[in-house]
């Protein structure tokens, strides 16, 4: 007990920091620091979402370094910089004039950078689509790519609207969004949960919404089986090797509606955990899953 005490504490702190990051404990408004008139020429992005945003609006050539989690787009200049544990010296060595960060857990680093005269923009995890759009527009404004940013937002809106129109029958279906094989999930107060809600899908994690202040409760397997979801969305294929086959082989899961009717879908977990320009891709995957399940159900 004694030997795991400090470690458990350290991990708890880390986990809380990450949960705060993921849930965006802040107000979500992307207006953290006043931006001087000068246009940045060397941007360091420590937020995978901001990286995707910057490249989507055509400001990718201003980006000189991105963090180790910024896996998209492939041409982003990925480094071993950490967005969770930002190291001011390592960031400054890239000589940035703007650093974009995602989290509340990075306050100390943000202060350190500002003391060195580097502009810092904090864009915390969005909780709604409109907050996600606002962050894209803000990056557009700062990099003088406003028109392109508006175009990206308009295109995202249109694609999501089309996906919603394509799957009008989601209402009445239930789903389970899996973040890990230990049954961590996301309730409807999270960004990803709200996307599902647009389709009218019922979230089996909502029964546990109060249990985790973060919106990401760890469900009990019993509850998932009893809730009998029509869709199981796996956002843990890459990290944890989960698939329709592994779900079917979990003890007791073979009888779940989603497993019986081909409602187990694998989604790109990077897309599903960010609030960037690829979110329409996720909405389209969900729409086609709904259509498939509905088709099977109606025979």
């Amino acid at each position: 007990m004694r030997s795991i005490g400090p470690r458990a504490l350290a991990l708890l702190t880390l986990a809380v920091a990450i949960a705060a990051l993921a849930a965006g404990c802040g107000n979500g408004d992307a207006t953290s620091f006043s931006i001087s008139a000068q246009t940045p020429r060397r941007i360091v992005s420590l937020s995978p979402t901001a990286t995707e945003d910057l490249f989507a609006i055509g400001a990718g050539d201003l980006v000189v370094a991105v963090d180790d989690q910024s896996s998209f787009p492939p041409q982003a200049p990925r480094t071993d910089l950490s967005g969770f544990q930002p190291n001011v010296e390592a960031i400054v060595s890239h000589r940035p004039d703007l650093v974009v960060m995602a989290g509340e857990g990075t306050r100390a680093a943000a202060r350190g950078l500002q003391e060195l005269g580097v502009r810092v923009l904090v864009q915390p995890a969005a909780r709604t689509l409109s907050q996600a759009y606002a962050q894209i527009r803000q990056l557009g404004g700062i990099t003088t790519h406003s028109t392109a940013a508006e175009r990206v937002v308009a295109r995202m809106r249109a694609r999501i609207a089309r996906a919603l129109r394509a799957a009008p029958l989601g209402r009445g279906l239930s789903f389970y969004h899996e973040l890990g094989p230990d049954y961590f999930s996301a309730d409807s107060n999270t960004f990803i949960g709200r996307i599902y809600a647009l389709f009218g899908l019922a979230n089996v994690a909502d029964a546990a919404a109060g249990a985790a202040g973060t919106g990401y409760p760890q469900l009990s397997a019993e509850h998932i089986l009893a809730a009998d979801p029509d869709l199981i969305v796996l956002a843990d294929a890459g990290c944890c090797g989960q698939s329709a086959a592994t779900v079917r082989h979990r003890p007791g899961w073979a009888g779940v509606a989603a497993v019986r009717r081909g409602g187990v879908v694998v989604v790109d977990e990077d897309v599903a955990s960010r609030w960037g320009p690829r979110i329409p891709l996720f909405a389209e995957e969900i729409a086609s899953a709904i259509r498939r399940v509905e088709g099977v159900r109606r025979g």
Partner: protein
């Protein structure tokens, strides 16, 4: 002794049944009994539960309850054995760095195992065993003739070093924090019957070896020199018991993660209730530990239902106040 043994057995059976019957989804106890009857061959009795409830009881709860009993019993027994060998009331199964070693092994498997689930228990088991062996070798070679103190300090050194290594790996792979974190707080949840078959042989052999040495451990209580003069090979007994307790602990935590507190609270409670002789403490720790973890697991899956609380949180949060109560109400008995 026999009175307590009977109590412990009754409590264990009651806990196992409660573990089957209680959970976030309500399934009636009577229904479970009838369903169990309907599965018995040549007996035309009972009615089957609905499909989902049947899956919940037999596919989810039953393996979980069995694994909880195995792991809880093993951790409590190992705790008692460690306390006996070190003659130290604060000794627990993680004293020689088994937890830190298992933690490093599991973290490496999670971070670099590419989602291979089978790798984690193996890596955790190997980590725990190697850490404890290293601590033993270091302590035994550095402290010839100086009893258990150097062994204990070697354990501290090994544990700190491995914890540092684990934190380093975790920092390099911050995307795995949540997974590692939930492993460290312990979980019986994802336990399938495969896990039980994996660890049961190790736990059975380790428990048998420790229990077979319970009389010799009683002799060790009078001191190394006195025990030697009675013809007991102190070093040998110590090595065998520690090895068995470590292998059992390593097997237990390899599938369930670092469930704390069981190894301390259960043996001490038994001592306060039934006396300090290891002939009594060890078998009772095995039985009470099994019940304790099964009951703790019921709390972990019902208290924030339908969400789950990590079992390590429950064992500490329920165990610590209970232990404080037992300490205050009972008379203190030395290890």
């Amino acid at each position: 002794m026999s009175r307590w043994l009977l109590t412990a057995c009754i409590l264990l059976v009651a806990s196992l049944l409660a573990g089957l019957a209680v959970g976030p989804v309500h399934v009636s106890a009577l229904g479970i009994v009838e369903d169990a009857l309907s599965h018995l061959p040549f007996l035309d009795a009972g009615t089957r539960l609905p499909r989902v409830e049947e899956a919940i009881v037999w596919d989810l709860r039953a393996p979980r309850v069995l694994l909880g009993a195995l792991v809880g019993g093993m951790l409590a027994l190992s705790g008692g054995a460690y306390q006996a060998v070190f003659r130290n009331p604060l000794a627990d199964p993680y004293l020689l760095g088994a937890a830190a070693g298992a933690g490093l092994g599991a973290t490496l498997a999670i971070a670099y195992g590419h989602g291979d689930d089978g790798l984690r228990p193996l890596a955790a088991f190997a980590g725990a065993a190697v850490a404890a062996a290293a601590a033993y070798l270091l302590g035994a070679t550095a402290g010839v003739g100086r009893g258990t103190t150097t062994l204990l300090l070697a354990g501290v050194a090994i544990a700190s070093f491995l914890t540092a290594a684990q934190t380093f790996v975790l920092q390099r792979n911050s995307d795995t924090v949540r997974e590692v974190y939930s492993w460290i707080l312990g979980q019986l949840d994802t336990a399938g019957s495969g896990d039980i078959l994996l660890v049961a042989p190790y736990i059975a052999v380790s428990a048998a070896v420790i229990l077979a040495h319970r009389r010799l451990l009683d002799v060790l209580r009078i001191g190394d020199e006195e025990a030697s003069s009675l013809g007991v090979d102190v070093g040998r007994v110590r090595l065998i018991v520690l090895a068995a307790a470590t292998v059992g602990t390593a097997a237990a935590i390899s599938v369930c993660g670092l469930i704390g507190f069981v190894g301390i609270v259960v043996p001490h409670t038994v001592r306060l209730l039934a006396g300090a002789s290891y002939r009594v403490v060890l078998p009772l720790s095995l039985l009470f530990g099994a019940s304790f973890l099964v009951l703790a697991d019921i709390v972990s899956r019902t208290v924030v239902s339908p969400a789950e609380l990590p079992i390590g949180v429950v064992t500490a949060a329920v165990g610590a106040p209970f232990f404080a109560f037992v300490l205050r109400s009972g008379r203190w008995v030395g290890v």
